[in-house]
Symmetry: C2
Subunit: 141 residues, 2 copies
């Protein structure tokens, strides 16, 4: 049994939107940039290539799904997809919707100044909207 | 027929290490950070999820291969894998070997100061070494 535990830092900085077969889909608590994070529920994995092959292929399809959802919800100018982990080593993949007018364009958003948490119940509300969008895309709506 | 043309900026900033079934593997001309770039030879694609499913799955396996090669060659503290494209929209995926003492740690290397081209024939020599490492990993050496 794989006793997966989400890294404390990821848990603190995000809200859970939904669980896919492999990954938990988290919404970063940053109201300035629509920012999803996919975390494969596999313990002790730091790098994508350390996943079993079948998990890698599922991850790719869950990443593609999350990308479609982000495009549908936010119509970004560009997606930024990245697995860095210089600070939090537990494997997690960012799917960030970028805009030419956002706070870090054209640079990367990771480590850039200007993040700002959602106000009030904003984070939970947006996570619910993300969950609904996944469900709609999965239903072909 | 897909008349794929590598983006001029990518061609100028890199050397070709080798061609995999889907991706060209490029070596960035930056001697400060071992930096591979995979470019799927498909025209007009900006985002990973725009690839056909079979290409996405091949991409994942070529990314895993490139990650293994980078770990074998460079023993990085962490890989940074990312598809950004804020500046060059043609789909390309970075596989950067990061070190706790490198010029941007723990921040992302994209957009960070301090890049420095290889001297003399250094870029071509390193690209040849990368090619050899891919061949060794593919042979199971």
């Amino acid at each position: 049994m794989d006793t997966f535990l989400l890294h404390r830092r990821l848990a603190e900085d995000t809200a859970l939107a939904l669980e896919l077969p492999l990954c938990s889909v988290l919404l970063m608590d940053d109201a300035t940039v629509p920012w999803l994070i996919l975390v494969p529920r596999r313990s002790g994995v730091r790098e994508i290539h350390e996943l079993e092959r079948v998990d890698r292929l599922i991850l790719m399809e869950e990443l593609a799904l999350a990308s479609k959802v982000a495009c549908k919800l936010y119509s970004p100018d560009k997606l930024n997809v990245g697995a860095l982990g210089n600070i939090v080593e537990q494997l997690h993949i960012h799917v960030v919707s970028r805009f030419k007018a956002d706070r870090a364009w054209p640079g990367p958003v990771w480590g850039a100044d200007g993040a700002s948490a959602y106000a009030g119940e904003g984070l939970a509300a947006e996570a619910a909207r993300v969950r609904k969008a996944f469900e709609d895309v999965l239903k072909g709506a």
